[in-house]
């Protein structure tokens, strides 16, 4: 079997993975990125509206600073984040964005003079000063005190990813695309690399690496309806969990984005509302100001999604063959604005809905969008429990997002964490050697080969696609925006049954090469285990915080639950083992009111 040696193995080649890889490559280390798809097709490319960085260049961002960005991020997280990490993040975001500019991202710039803009439905005027002309500008996003989301039209992720991949190419980062990591090679103490399946040939290989990074993005596709790309099935989280010693943090913290389109669940950016778009109900009335008089459509995503859901539950949604939805109205922004600043939205509406958003309403509803949880790391990106293993980006629980991520903070996280974790990885590679244990490597390869062989020869069981659909439907039905004990119990029971089916499926084809049914069968048990971590973590967390809303425990409980869930899955268990750690050691801002959302709080002192 083929064995490949390298200094750094990055599992995932989106923005975070490539940013780490670049840092290691520039320090002179051999770096290989694995990717399910060519790097430029990574899901980072689908990020639309912007990247948060407190530059304070545009007039509506004047006075902005990392302190304000910090406050917004901590409030947004509903005090679930690690405040030390959030602080490191906001201080480094301006530098990271300028470096992306230096590398070639065509950020939109400040245009001096008077211009109109919309807030809610209202037309207002602003005047940009001459002395800021040509600096990076920003737009408004939810949950922020200032206009802080820097952007390239609404293809910000695309522009950043293409630039990042160019730089990776420049510095000699190697890419092995169409590969999938099946497991980590480890001895309980140190990570030695990964066993990987080539999705071109079906061949298994071992990669031996002194440092290994998981940067494979989120796991939204465990839900039936998700804005995520079809590759976001949690591969990185699965192989970390499977070690038994690496925990996943806050898996119950799942974000639902207010504006997935109906049908197809494709995202239209928060920039629509940031630029002045409004949400309307079946009577074409704006409803967000009733619930959130201050922030209206620009409260944080968890709050807007809940309000939309509540509003539809009152019968004020629009009926459709695909279920109830609401309307997003950007007509008043005008065709010129839409075709220049929101052109992806324009294309998506025309191509997938057959409507022109300059004169039609866009059907939307809250849709699974982001995984705040992931591979738990320290502030340097080193994974808990296994030396030599690192994680960054959406795959990780670093944890600057806590229980709700602000729009534009994920793109920012990829490049800030990528830069910082990359430095740490380079330092680690400078210092740490590793004794290669061929028995360990061959043992893991053999184990994975046996899994493949067993799957191919299985004569009874359910088809993998069917089993996957069952899992997705359970999460949709019982682990959605609003949760309760009864549903979560049921979800846990049903998912345990699904896990048994997932572990013993029957393939109908088992052709040579990269058979897609076999690929799914190999990752399916891991996906169900992630689903169980989400459901079980949600069941145990008896409070409401950020995106985790319990109907039976509606208050945020800082007395008992100002903690982060750590889910471990030691071999042979039917359920994960949950442990807890304090949400943050450093407390710059003690828990308080978010200023939106109107959630009751049980204070730590009570």
């Amino acid at each position: 079997m083929r064995i490949i040696y390298t200094d750094l193995l990055c599992i995932g080649a989106g923005l975070a993975g490539e940013r780490v890889a670049i840092e290691a490559a520039r320090a002179g280390f051999e770096t290989i990125c694995l990717s399910l798809v060519p790097p430029r097709r990574s899901h980072s490319s689908a990020a639309q509206g912007g990247m948060q960085a407190a530059l304070g260049n545009c007039i509506k961002g004047q006075g902005d600073c990392p302190d304000m960005h910090f406050q917004d991020t901590v409030k947004g997280s509903d005090w679930g984040c690690d405040q030390e990490v959030a602080r490191i993040f906001v201080e480094n975001a301006p530098l990271a964005i300028r470096q992306m500019d230096y590398w070639g991202v065509p950020w939109n710039r400040v245009v001096p003079g008077k211009a109109c803009y919309f807030k809610g439905g209202e037309k207002l005027e602003k005047e940009e000063p001459r002395d800021r002309s040509g600096l990076i500008t920003a737009r408004d996003f939810g949950g922020t005190a200032k206009w802080r989301a820097c952007y390239c039209s609404d293809g910000t992720g695309h522009a950043m990813l293409y630039t990042m991949d160019s730089v990776a190419l420049q510095y000699g980062v190697q890419v092995h695309d169409r590969t999938e990591a099946l497991s980590l090679i480890h001895d309980q103490e140190r990570c030695h690399g990964a066993v990987v399946r080539c999705l071109k040939t079906g061949e298994l290989r071992a990669y031996i690496s002194r440092a290994t990074l998981i940067a494979s993005g989120g796991f939204g596709r465990i839900y039936r309806a998700s804005t995520n790309a079809v590759i976001n099935e949690g591969g990185g989280q699965i192989i970390a969990l499977d070690t038994g010693g690496v925990p996943l943090g806050n898996m119950e913290a799942v974000q639902f984005h207010p504006t997935g389109i109906v049908p197809t669940d494709i995202l239209v950016t928060e920039g629509c509302r940031g630029d002045g778009g409004t949400l309307l109900d079946v009577n074409l009335e704006r409803f967000m100001p009733w619930y959130e008089p201050d922030k209206a459509e620009l409260a944080s995503r968890d709050v807007v999604s809940r309000r939309m859901q509540e509003h539809m539950a009152q019968g004020l949604g629009v009926k459709s063959p695909y279920g109830d939805h609401l309307w997003l109205d950007i007509r008043h922004l005008g065709r010129e604005h839409i075709t220049s600043k929101l052109r992806e939205v324009d294309e998506i509406c025309k191509n997938f809905l057959g409507i022109d958003p300059a004169d039609s309403l866009i059907p939307v509803r809250p849709t699974q969008h982001y995984s705040m949880g992931g591979v738990r790391t320290d502030k340097d990106g080193a994974a808990y429990g296994l030396k030599g293993l690192f994680s960054a980006g959406e795959a990780a629980c670093w944890d600057m997002h806590g229980f709700n991520r602000l729009g534009g903070n994920s793109l920012a996280e990829t490049v800030v964490a990528g830069m910082l974790v990359g430095r740490r990885v380079a330092g680690f590679l400078q210092e740490e050697d590793m004794r290669v244990d061929t028995a360990l490597v061959r043992g893991e390869l053999k184990k994975q080969q046996e899994r493949v062989d067993t799957l191919k020869s299985s004569t009874k069981g359910d088809p993998p696609f069917e089993v996957r659909n069952r899992m997705q439907d359970i999460l949709m039905d019982y682990v959605g925006i609003f949760r309760n004990e009864k549903d979560l119990h049921l979800a846990g029971e049903k998912l345990q049954q699904v896990l048994q089916s997932a572990e013993n499926p029957k393939l109908s084809s088992s052709k040579a090469g990269a058979d897609p049914e076999l690929s799914l069968a190999l990752r399916l048990p891991g996906m169900v285990r992630l689903a169980l971590c989400v459901a079980f973590g949600a069941l145990e967390r008896r409070e409401s915080r950020g995106s985790h809303a319990r109907e039976d425990y509606p208050a945020r409980n800082d007395r008992d639950w100002l903690v982060r869930t750590l889910a471990f899955w030691p071999g042979g268990r039917a359920l994960p083992r949950l442990e807890y750690e304090p949400a943050t050691k450093v407390v710059e801002i003690p828990p308080g009111e978010r200023g939106y959302g109107g959630c009751e709080v049980i204070s730590a002192e009570s």
Binding site: V37, P38, R40, R41, S42, H43, S45, A46, R98, Q99, D101, Y102, W103, G104, P106, W107, N108, R109, V110, V111, G134, L135, I136, T137, C152, G155, H158, A159, Y162, D165, S166, V167, L169, Q170, V175, D177, R178, K200, A229, V230, P263, T264, I266, L267, P321, E347, I348, N351, F352, P464, F465, N469, S508, S509, K511, A512, G513, A514, D515, P516
Partner: protein
Amino acid sequence: MNRKLTFAIFRYNPQEPGSRPWMQEFRLEETENLNLFVALNLVREKQDPSLQFDFCCRAGICGACAMVINGRPGLACRTKTAELPDKIVLMPLPGFRLGGDLSVDTGAWFRAMNARIRSWIHNDEEFDPDAPEVVMDNQVAEQIYELDRCIECGCCIGACATAQMRSDFLGAAAMNRIARFMLDPRDKRENREYFEVVGTEQGIFGCMGLLGCQDVCPKNLPLQDQLSHVRRKMGWQALKKILPWSGG
């Protein structure tokens, strides 16, 4: 009454001993808003789990799902069956190494292309972490973004007669990429350096001007303008090489 659709799909698995290229037919009842992303996944889930194809974002953003749809290269995810006749013929995009069935290796092709044209900002100055960003006119930023929107789906290569005849032809995607860097004031390369990478028969001078690329580009990139822009610049550069007194 819903239409009964027939999908004729190219099948060939180079990894499977004895596999030969052939066309397989699948039948599917059309539902409202059906597109090729949903249709192909239904075929795979219900009729043949071995069928290979590529989707990723399924929103027309990532460029993974280009294929030849009833004779024309396009993105499958955003092609609605309502726009197509009862019989839908799907072939893999030509010009790229075939993975299997409808899946082609565009990744390796585009990475090699970007390496050949050295597709990154060339700037000798180090990044200064303490300095503010260099100012740029917003119009320039928007012009760069306009060309930066290419999603490397490969439709323009699949529709290019030169690319079908010579495998080393860089194609419209590369010329568009070069034009993007020529526009960017942060890239300090001179025309003579661009000439080295695209002033050849494999580059801009191989283009026959048939403009199939522009017709099929799903992002409606102004490829015709970029091809003529690069050709003009490189033509002038070529002339300079012949006329020593012109300073080339």
